[in-house]
Amino acid sequence: MNQNDINNLRGKTAVVGLAESGCGMASGWSAMEIMANSVHDALDDAGIKLNEVDGVFAATAFHSMAAMSLSEYLGLKPKFADGSQIGGSSFLSHILTAALALDAGLINVAVVAYGSNQKSIGGFKTISEAMPYEAQYEPRMPVTAYALAAKRYMHEFGASREDLANVAVSARDWALLNPRAYTYDKGPLTIEDVLSARPIVDPLGKLDCCLVTDGGAAVIMTRSDRAKDTKNTPIYLLGAAMEHHHRMVSEMPDLVRTSAIDSSQRAFKMSSYKATDMDTIQLYDAFTINTLLFLEDLGFCKKGEAIELVKNNNIGPSGSLKVNTNGGGLSCVHPGMYGLFVTLEAIRQLRNSAGDNVGERSGGGWIDNAKLSVAHGNGGVLSSQVTNVWGVSETL
């Protein structure tokens, strides 16, 4: 097999159930309880029994061996498990691994899960070790790393803080249409709101940074032949690829070009679709700079051109690009690792369009006739990049 054969996973597996749990504030619930609750709800959504699950995939900031801890908690004896931890994109890589294991026949039903109660126990939670050659200078990770990238981006392409703020304003406008969003009832943001928010690490202020919430999520995957028999519309994994070039921001080869350039090229190639074919675009927006970088790196515009692309609320509900339609990590939910929520939104949009009841949204919150979604995950400090392309059956 060589690179020309990488489409052999195309359409072989599908997500047949999903759920989120405890998003926002879940005082009195542990991270494990929130995660397990998500799994049971996702299984209910799929109409699949717990004891059919033989593949378990999980990563959290609370469990050093999350897949094993989750399996034990659920009372499962999985034949394959993966708790790989590459930051917030872990779950998009778990989906790739699950697809491989399903396609190889190692397992029949996979669950990919996450849970966090970081907000209700006091704030951002990480199990990251101190970075050698960096920790001594006391960077405020991960914000400092993204601020370094933002500053360099502003320097290279003439971007302003207003250009970054456009991203936060559009994300909030989406959240105002989504009753699940943490900021659903918090009103719109103005550019001035974003610029005048408390500075954290210049050039990023508080509203350039993602929310800090509780929350868990899970998706259930099977091979496509089995998926046809489940009670909801299966959403097929058409393409998936990952790449990473660094762990520490000081080792990042180019602060304004991420390895999402590579992951997205291979994922789109596997899917046989291109960026501009996507009806919805779900990008891991831990900070405003992320959305600009990933719009460019995934191929929606050339490097430096996202500044223009996000102007005039063009990535908001009334714009031409349907980006982060749940409100994103900036305005919907961000329980420490957001990757699975990017995935949920990509799939929910397609299921809603196919007629499944996946919740209520105000006008324009659901994208009409959506058949293809890209979900892009980011982990660490713009480090790990994983792209998944999802489609309804007619896109196979």
């Binding site: 050659y133 200078y137 400092t144 370094l148 500053k151 360099r152 320097h155």
Partner: protein, 129 residues
């Protein structure tokens, strides 16, 4: 290298030892004639092991820079930058001697060894002129 590594220290400790002696040393691969940072047991990506320690020129350029906001009672705002050394490699460091939010990308800087949180650390000052 002896298999048991006895009698030696790893490159991370060696780097710190040099700093304690007042020396800012970086590694160079002899066969490639290339410098790299951070210190490693072999050249990143291709694995060459013919390495030597060379005293850095201490001159670099600000590649990116941030002002990290911190309460005055916890020490106040501080600068954190990425510096590209004249030898080529990039490293994280602080730039001092000016307001933490006044450091500019592209400014030339010069390293000195200072003490940060009780440990020797490379700190940069803006090079005038």
């Amino acid at each position: 290298m002896p298999e048991n590594l006895k009698g030696l220290v790893g490159p991370e400790q060696q780097f710190k030892n040099y700093l304690s002696e007042g020396k800012f040393m970086i590694q160079r691969c002899k066969s490639l004639d290339k410098f790299f940072f951070h210190p490693r047991v072999a050249f990143p990506g291709t694995g060459e092991r013919d390495l030597e320690w060379v005293e850095a020129s201490r001159i670099g350029t600000v590649h990116s820079t941030t002002c990290n906001r911190r309460l005055p009672e916890k020490g106040g705002d501080f600068n954190l930058s990425l510096i590209t050394l004249d030898e080529g490699p990039r490293m994280m460091a602080r730039v001092e001697g000016t307001e933490p939010d006044k450091v500019q990308i592209g400014q030339k800087v010069k390293a000195r060894i200072s003490i940060l949180n009780g440990e020797p650390a490379v700190i940069f000052d803006i090079l005038q002129g």
